[in-house]
Amino acid sequence: MTVAMEDTETKAVSGAEIRLENVTKRYPNTKAAAVDEFSMVIPAGRIVVFVGPSGCGKTTTMRMINRMVEPTSGVITIGGKDALHIDADELRRGIGYAIQQAGLFPHFTVAQNIAVVPGLLKWDKKKIDARVDEMMDLVGLDPGTFRHRLPRQLSGGQQQRVGVARALAADPPVLLMDEPFGAVDPITRGNLQDELLRLQNELGKTIVFVTHDFDEAVKLGDKIAVLGDRSTIQQYDTPDAILANPANDTVAGFVGAGASLKQLTLLRVRDVPFDTDNVIAVDHGDAPAQVAEKLRLADRAYALVLDERQRPLRWVHRRELAGRTSLLDAGKPVGDSVTTQSTLQDALEAILTEGGRAVVTGARGELIGTIDISTVTDVIANVRETHADGGSA
């Protein structure tokens, strides 16, 4: 089962590979190392999420990549180049850095904040201005409205977007993010996570993302590193594999009891066998009496009313058709629907809202099929079996 992350075209990879070899951090006056012999390869153009309990050293490890914390020993290379022996400030100008509090300079406007690193790199003014507008568009903030605003005039979510824009402004191959969405409300967090995935689709950066929220890790990560004390790697694998086969009790504890449900976020409707011809679909102009007859012959209770573009409008029950002249106000409108792109979790929600079966639509909203609860539960059972047998995606 592949992780359906990108669309069918191959996307550009502008990220660089990060290698950490035996990286250790010891603080004076403490016996145990804070990070002990950490080794990992972070593939170029991928999102790797460090997840673990507070104090395990995940943030420290990430901060060693851009030397905000200097490693005591070990080797770190980015794109093949040694990161430890060049000037630290210069290194950081080539790495994007986004933190939880956004860290926007309160006395700089949005534009001035985003322009900081290009300014440090001595880009010329025109290039910087153009880039600022480009970045603002990229994160969904209209340049005309927001260019001259101050951070205090922005909401938490908007501030985080500016933070991300600032991190990406100089087009670094690597992006470090330290719980960047931790300080906003869950709805905004979900939006920001979706935005990040969309950005990544376009840009293909190498992203190291630290979080303590395992659900966030599953949603965002191409690979997840579950870290324990002193940043020891408990398991480093795709979300799929970890959910299906936690390496030890620590990881299992992290995954939690809802592993099956979490798998629902990894699968998409198009990956599962939903019904394509199991619904009686009729046009909104059809006569109700005809539809009633059709249903009787097929021995079905419900019909789905479509518009002239084949888009689902309403569900109609056979008994509601008696005495009607038009289908347009019969039955109930279709509430929630999903596309082939939607995750199984969205599908499950839609199924529950609609009462057992949800409509699946295509790119232009036209009816493709339906999906019901038994399809979903069958899929989950299958996935667990596959991973339990030792096969992984």
Partner: protein, 267 residues
């Protein structure tokens, strides 16, 4: 000497540089409006009265425009010299004392500056004079620099230290050098507090400059003293009114600077 509530010896419990309470903030706005009015009224009325009423010969000797202007000029000069010196010493010193390393000796300097403000201003001026024999402008300016150092030094240090650590982390993290972070982030955000300290120092300086005449430094205090010695009430009033007017004006200018020179977004 004027008295200001901040930075007094022994006020250790309440943080010496408190965030302005809303009462103080609102009263500041009241003063921002009415103080210049008060200045114009007081000074205008007094000066006009002094120069237009019938003065006897003694009074005329002191209450004439050239004398008044000279004394006022001296007074302003003292205030300016002290302010420039205090900023030139206290701000760089304050910055230096917040850097890791030098910050170990910060308590020593703060204690010295505290001492400077604990001692009564007149005492310090007189001691300096008796000790060095210097008279005139410098006899008053140098002790005053020592006396008004604390508010600016302490406010500079606290202003820099209260900058949110995450901003410094963000600045270094995206590639600013340590000096870059200091100049572009820490200092601009410390400006409001530094200006507040400077305003305190200015008010102290302009008020204490009334004592300059004790060591031959001139200033408006001389008018008051002359009036006192010659038993001429009118002269005392004019001297007092001018000194008060000047002090209120300087305080008001300080308030305006606080409002208008702080970077937007830093308050």
């Amino acid at each position: 000497m004027t008295a200001v509530a901040e930075g007094l010896p022994g006020v250790s419990r309440t943080s010496a540089v408190e965030r302005k309470s809303s009462v103080t903030a609102r009263s500041d706005r009241v003063r921002l409006f009415f103080q210049p009015v008060a200045v114009i009224v007081i000074v205008g009325a007094v000066v006009v009265w002094a120069l237009s009423s019938d003065l006897n010969a003694n009074e005329q000797e002191t209450l004439n425009l050239p004398t008044i202007l000279t004394l006022t000029g001296q007074h302003i000069l003292i205030t300016l010299v002290v302010s420039v010196l205090v900023v030139a010493i206290a701000v760089p010193l304050g910055i230096a004392l917040t850097r890791p390393g030098p910050d170990r000796v910060a308590p020593v300097f703060l204690a010295l500056a505290n001492l400077g403000q604990a001692a009564p201003a007149l005492g310090v001026i007189v001691l300096f004079f008796l000790w060095t024999g210097i008279e005139g402008l410098w006899a008053v300016a140098i002790p005053l620099v020592f006396y008004t150092l604390l508010p600016v030094l302490r406010n500079t240090m606290v202003g820099i230290q209260q900058v949110d650590r995450s901003l410094i982390d963000a600045g270094r993290g995206i590639g600013m050098s340590a000096a870059g972070v200091l100049w572009r982030v820490e200092l601009p955000l410390a400006v409001p507090l530094i200006l507040a300290g400077l305003r305190t120092a200015l008010v102290l300086a302009v008020g204490t400059a009334t004592l300059a005449f004790f060591v031959n430094g001139g200033g408006l205090g001389e008018l008051i003293d002359t009036g006192y010695k010659l038993q001429l009430n009118s002269v005392m009033y004019v001297g007092a009114a001018l000194a008060i007017g000047l002090a209120l004006l300087v305080d008001w200018l300080g308030g305006v600077a606080e409002q208008w020179l702080s970077p937007k977004g830093a308050e």
